[in-house]
Subunit: 385 residues, 2 copies
């Protein structure tokens, strides 16, 4: 009788509307009905990704869309700058390595944010770089990078700006066109509130122009083929996970009804409340520039960190994420994106206090909730209206 509460930064909780859509009998995907649905979904995606340009839908995880961005923009032997500030940012480099692309690595300590001035210096040193690969919200560290400021810097160069927003899109403010992002890469199982299986890319006119000049090391991920089918149909060159696209249509209705600006600001408040609550409990935050969609926090060192996470799940059904790579056993991560709401966060804070108490730490019950509630009380729309 343990109620499950998924609080990980992907996959996240899926709204009932999307789940029920996934339970519908399958229909064919090469039909006028599907094209109509797909067209609506594309309109919605443009709105929530804050772009007027084309959006591509891939049947893959976010890593597949990262590969698509790399191989369609940078030819073998081309040069790319990778802003490597976490486990997922590293993936950009690994993809470049696999396809014979020269990487200029900009290594940033995990937990720190990329400094736009460093990107400027790198671009001056490497004017032949075809692209800069960065991250909006690095979910391995909980850092939100200053993509707006980095975008300004990249705009002054010849390079394209490609942003991994797999977990960050639709939870952290991200004005794709306005901020000069040429390609935004997004995953389905984060703030878009779907199961894993779809990934998305936005394409600026400059990205399209570059794609047209590159013979990509790609077939399945050949974005020219995808874009042509979007323009024709809209359709897809290969069979899409179309039942997921139908479920996405449901979630886009929810997001658009609230409005993407409100979704962003709600997440910002939730993130502040989470941090205030955790600090009131006496836990130490990890990220230097915390993201809006998840909070990373050091595991308490005076109790057994593994036992702590196990009890959170075993007693309260709360699944948070541990650390990745060298952060394993050092931090844990709580998501606040999609339909994760205020009461989910307050419950999680209360559960953390109860578990710490069980494990023998001295705890002031209610401190975490109180601090978080104070933030929510100022930020909550009800307090204003």
């Amino acid at each position: 009788m343990i109620k499950k509460r998924l609080m990980t930064p992907g996959p996240t909780q899926v709204p009932e509307e999307a789940l029920l859509s996934l339970a519908r009998q399958v229909t064919h995907h090469r039909t006028a009905e599907f094209r109509k649905l797909f067209a609506e979904v594309l309109v919605g995606l443009k709105e929530v990704f804050a772009t007027k340009h084309d959006v591509i839908v891939l049947t893959s995880s976010g890593s597949g869309a990262m590969e698509a961005a790399v191989v369609n923009l940078v030819p073998r032997g081309g040069k790319a700058i990778v802003l490597e500030a976490g486990n997922f940012a590293q993936r950009w480099r690994k993809i470049c390595d696999a396809f014979g692309i020269e990487v200029v690595r900009h290594e940033v300590t995990w937990g720190e944010a990329v400094d736009p001035a460093d990107v400027k210096a790198l671009l001056e040193k490497h004017p032949d770089a075809v692209a800069v690969f960065g991250t909006l919200m690095e979910s391995s560290t909980g850092v939100g990078h200053d993509v707006k400021a980095i975008g300004e810097v990249v705009r002054g160069s010849k390079a394209l700006f490609v942003v991994d927003a797999i977990s960050g899109a639709c939870v952290m403010e991200c004005r794709t066109d306005e901020w000069g992002i040429d390609v935004l890469v997004v995953g389905s199982q984060k703030a878009l509130m779907l199961p894993p299986g779809l990934a998305f890319l936005t394409l600026s006119p400059a990205a399209v122009k570059q794609m047209e000049q590159v013979k990509p090391q790609a077939f399945y991920f050949d974005l020219k083929q995808h874009r042509n089918k979007i323009l024709e149909g809209p359709d897809t060159p290969w069979t899409p996970a179309h039942t997921m696209i139908a479920a996405l249509a449901e979630n886009l209705k929810l997001i658009r009804a609230e409005g993407i600006e409100k979704v962003w600001s709600r997440a910002k408040t939730l993130a502040r409340a989470t941090r205030a609550g955790l600090e009131a409990i006496g836990l130490e935050l990890f990220a230097a520039r915390p993201a809006d969609g998840l909070t990373s926090v050091y595991l308490p060192t005076d109790v057994d960190g593994g036992a702590f996470l196990k009890r959170l799940e075993g007693r309260f059904g709360i699944k948070v994420a541990g650390g990745q790579a060298h952060l394993k056993g050092k931090i844990f991560r709580i998501a606040h994106m999609g339909i994760v709401d205020e009461l989910d966060i307050l419950s999680t804070l209360a559960a953390i206090e109860l578990v710490l108490d069980e494990l023998g730490r001295s705890v002031e019950f209610g401190a975490g909730c109180r601090a978080a509630q104070r933030v929510l009380a100022e930020g909550h729309p009800a307090a204003v209206g």
Copy 2:
């Protein structure tokens, strides 16, 4: 009030058990629970694919798995023989082209089957071919190729035998290990009765050996990474469409409860019944060597073919597939795979008669059903038991 009846060769009807599984709230995928589920699914897949060796699960459509087979086995500049006997077989060549692989094209008229003797001659002429890419069930033409005989021929060469069984696996007899198939490529939305979004590959020891010698033009589809995670976890290198894997577990229970041999023989009977029914209606079959999972048939030429298909769907909710490429407007295709059953076929035959009558053709009502029923009466287990 039109009840929908999906009779296309992919996607096919999804059993209720899998649909309900897809409606469950999402859980995390990096857990002991998921690894246990995944391990069970892999055991099931090995059984239904008739292999003792590794099976890889990709989050992509079948085309992604085809690309994975190509780029992991054949290096850039390497040579491959493509048995090009339909729209989907052509995809092998297009993938090879995209990655700089030299293709020996063996073009076969659409609707005809590949002659194993021709494959033998090609292998003798091209002893340096790394792989032969063929098809089990070409769903664009409805032909079932003699993969067993082709496998015998390829076994006598140095080449690996790679078979697109995206639509054919689990409906047409296919003894992967016994027939010398090194890589079998399978899709989720055909006889495995899932929505699109997953694809599968089997890997013979020879395929694994070859993979280890090739630096693949791949990251997302790098099969070494996938295989290593299978051996470790089992797990996946990138986030999998794990809710689809959970739904697959449900379908594998159904298939294994019946037994793959029975699934194959049931499809064979259903295919014979479909052909008998269509011929009794006076329609002309298209495929020279008809497949067990779908039947391709010429559109009647004395009535409007487009109107015929439209009425089948509009009046009876029956969605069959039209022809692809140059076969568009010439043939249509009826699937009998997965949970498509005897009564679905009889209903479809009855509907065809009613629509032909409506469109002004002289029809002997009941002729199609009668002919099909006669086949089912001999083949049906109830007649024997």
